[in-house]
Symmetry: C2
Subunit: 473 residues, 2 copies
């Protein structure tokens, strides 16, 4: 008779990827569904991931010369209608407040789906002359887009994000700034902190932000081969400037419209992190992101064990490691170990009475896996290097997945086939907008256009551009 296999903690990814995702979100205590359709409650462990993302992004955004500000949640409905493409894009997703303070409002107000309109209303007051440019503003805020097919972190009615909005004197300056954010803020953050491989590219006309003249994107391949858009940076041209009369007096005394950009990244990245790095045992958090890089687990509640755990904790902290002590010895050890696996803390140091006597501990590494005894005294010297190895491994794995699951295809049919398990690459000249429309009928989209050398095309119809096609979240 065969021994019964232990029931897995999560539905295996290979059995049902969406269910695995939902299991992980619940069991690692990242989030719950909210009571209003499509909303979510971000639990402390999930919010901790977002807080670390915020703090890392915020310092990069400030380094780019951008200042934070805050614009109102409520936007007069009339603002939305001033930019024709913008209202068309967002009208179906709006939440509308019709009553305030016990009365029906004279003009309904919209809960912001994004803030280009209200921000331009103020830019038009603040910008007078070329001396006021560039004006570089960012806000951390919640936005609402009524979601018909919600999925926690990935598509939620309310989500948290940063949205940057800038105004420049020239087309070139705006274009370069949008590219700078795309490459040096978003790209560098995703790669260096989130250990996420991505393809940077340009959206097709069809996939562009409503109101933009160019949308730059970072597309990541998830564990099931689908694509997730991880952050976008838009050139808005003068579309909003003309709608809101955002003008400046040039050096030569002319009134000119400003050139603008906007760019955003959101709590969606938390979902992307799960689907990019998670495995059948749970999440794996890149060490540079992790609020807790190492957890020291006291196996028993003996004073000697607790003392050794605390001493080690203090030494690891001195070594610059973000460390947490788990001394909840009234909860069974096995349950705690499974919980840390689920939560994806990169390294777990387990200390029991025999370890204390021997001056050792068991080191369990979440990212490469495996467990081995290590001398307690060696850990402060050892762990920083291992964490860097882990960080590199996650990035390598995600790159290898994308490379191994991306194929060159010749036409729509092959592209749809490729998108069943990964991504397809096809010359944009061969696909075109007609081919793109055909793909869309089968739920496959052009995620972005890339140049042959991997760079980002400078125009919509750059010769030699390749379309990356996939199913997407």
């Amino acid at each position: 008779m065969r021994a019964m296999a232990k029931a897995p903690v999560l539905t295996p990814r290979a059995d049902d990827f969406p269910r695995w995702y939902q299991d992980l979100i619940n069991k690692a205590e990242l989030a719950d569904n909210g009571p209003v359709r499509g909303t979510m409650v971000i639990r402390p462990y999930g919010y901790g991931l977002w807080e670390r993302m915020q703090s890392e992004m915020d310092s990069r955004i400030k380094e780019a010369g951008v200042q934070n500000a805050y614009f109102p949640l409520f936007i007069p409905q009339s603002y939305l209608t001033r930019e024709a493409e913008h209202v068309e894009g967002f009208a179906p997703e709006l939440a509308v407040v019709t009553h305030g303070g016990g009365k029906e409002l004279e003009e309904p107000v919209v809960v912001r789906p994004t803030s280009e309109t209200i921000i331009n209303e103020y830019f038009s007051k603040w910008v007078q002359s070329y001396r006021d440019l560039p004006l570089l503003i960012n806000q951390w805020a919640n936005v609402v887009r009524w979601e018909m097919r919600p999925r926690v972190f990935l598509r939620t009615t309310e989500f948290l994000w940063q949205e940057g909005h800038t105004a420049h004197a020239t087309y070139e300056d705006a274009r370069d700034f949008a590219a700078h954010i795309h490459r040096d803020v978003y790209g560098a953050f995703m790669r260096d902190v989130l250990a996420m491989d991505f393809v940077p590219g340009r959206k097709t006309r069809r996939e562009r932000f409503a109101g933009a003249v160019n949308t730059l994107t970072l597309e990541g391949m998830m564990g099931d081969g689908k694509a997730l858009q991880l952050g976008t940076s838009h050139e808005l041209g003068q579309n909003f400037a003309k709608a809101f009369h955002t003008q400046y007096l040039s050096g030569s005394g002319e009134q000119e419209y400003v050139w603008q950009t906007s760019w955003g990244s959101s709590t969606r990245m938390v979902g992307g992190l799960v689907m990019m790095h998670g495995d059948d045992n749970g999440l794996r958090v890149p060490p540079r992101l992790a609020a807790t890089q190492v957890v020291v687990l006291a196996i028993k509640g003996d004073e000697a064990v607790l003392d050794a755990a605390r001493k080690l904790g203090a030494r690891l902290k001195e070594a610059g490691i973000r460390v947490q002590i788990d001394d909840r010895t009234d909860t069974p050890f096995g349950r705690r170990a499974v919980d840390w696996e689920l939560k994806g803390v990169p390294a777990r140091v387990e200390i029991g009475p025999r370890d204390v006597a021997a001056g050792t501990a068991m080191l369990a590494r979440r990212i490469p896996g495996g467990k081995e005894p290590v001398a307690l005294d060696a850990l402060p010297g050892l762990l920083p290097g291992l964490l860097e190895e882990d960080q590199a491994q996650l990035l390598r794995e995600s790159r290898q997945r994308r490379e191994s699951r991306t194929v060159d295809v010749a036409g729509v049919e092959e592209a749809v086939e490729a998108a069943a398990t990964g991504w397809g690459r096809i010359p944009w000249a061969a696909l075109g907008e007609a081919g793109e429309a055909k793909l869309a009928e089968q739920g496959v989209t052009v995620r972005c256009l890339v140049a042959e050398d991997g760079s980002v095309p400078g125009t919509d119809d750059e010769a030699g551009a390749i379309a990356v096609v996939a199913r997407a979240y």
Copy 2:
């Protein structure tokens, strides 16, 4: 003939305090009014003050063992009605979303005015046994309370805040935690970072948070003698626990209702900072709060001047000072100096060509006032101590103002008189709820009850308690 006095930058406080406040908010570029009644746009300089408050508060909140999370903006209307006093308190201020995604909603949703209800819905799921307690959660969020008489930062339809929500196994634990936040988080922050004097006390029944059994408050005296509530910490008893069935299995196997607290502090503190420390020349920012503690002003654009300014900036940064270089030499020097006065940066170091030659600079101190030449080389050693002096001076001034403008009064009439210029103190036993109601008819309220020794009364009717009465924002 008398020389014409230079027109003041702001309306003097003595002429019209509310107009002085509005002038300062506008000219120091702290905020603008938003397009929807009662909303505000927080401009970068104002938001910078809030960001620093957030970061200082956040670390203190975390030190108290509290974890951040995020709950939805939208609350089903039915939740609000479950706690009778709570709904009565908030119903007149609600913003209601009736349409989402192009359709009328089956149940209207409320934009959160505060989150006790939705948080209890989740606490009731998360809390199972005594092992899950205490549960200590905080969120940084925007909330909406429809405001009939808005005033920027002080009373706005939307404001930013933190709201803490905790659940405890016993009454005593909840009571002590509410007091801990009041004293060691809010109190310590206001005193040590904001340099704000305050009276810590207990609200009367009439002034309590809707749904609380006890509200602790910090009341500060503004420049015009009125009071501003700077932060509140509530004991909720078991009111919400009973409404939402938030129960736990006790050590002895009984289902018990949890005991709860909630506590909040908001962007209102920015308004309080202005009205507490501002003078006729603008804001004065306490050095420990200031994002920029010292600005180094290059008077002219000569390379030697710019170079000296940058070198000094680097040395001050090394000395641990938050420093900014103002090299906008295409803007007249006088205008820049006035702007820094308005913004209240604690110290301004002005460097011109003659200063470079002499190895000196002019040091202008915003808080004590005055300007004197100082050797460039002396500044890195000198400034940290001066900034600490400035910090202490602001706290001292605000304490002196309160002390000199608070008088003991014997009855309602005297109390109203005292409230015209400051605060009155009257034994609660002499005033009572009837006297409190009479005061309210004349726009004067009991800000809080304090014990004779200055401590916070433990009950509503503690013998010897004194009522502090004032007009309030």
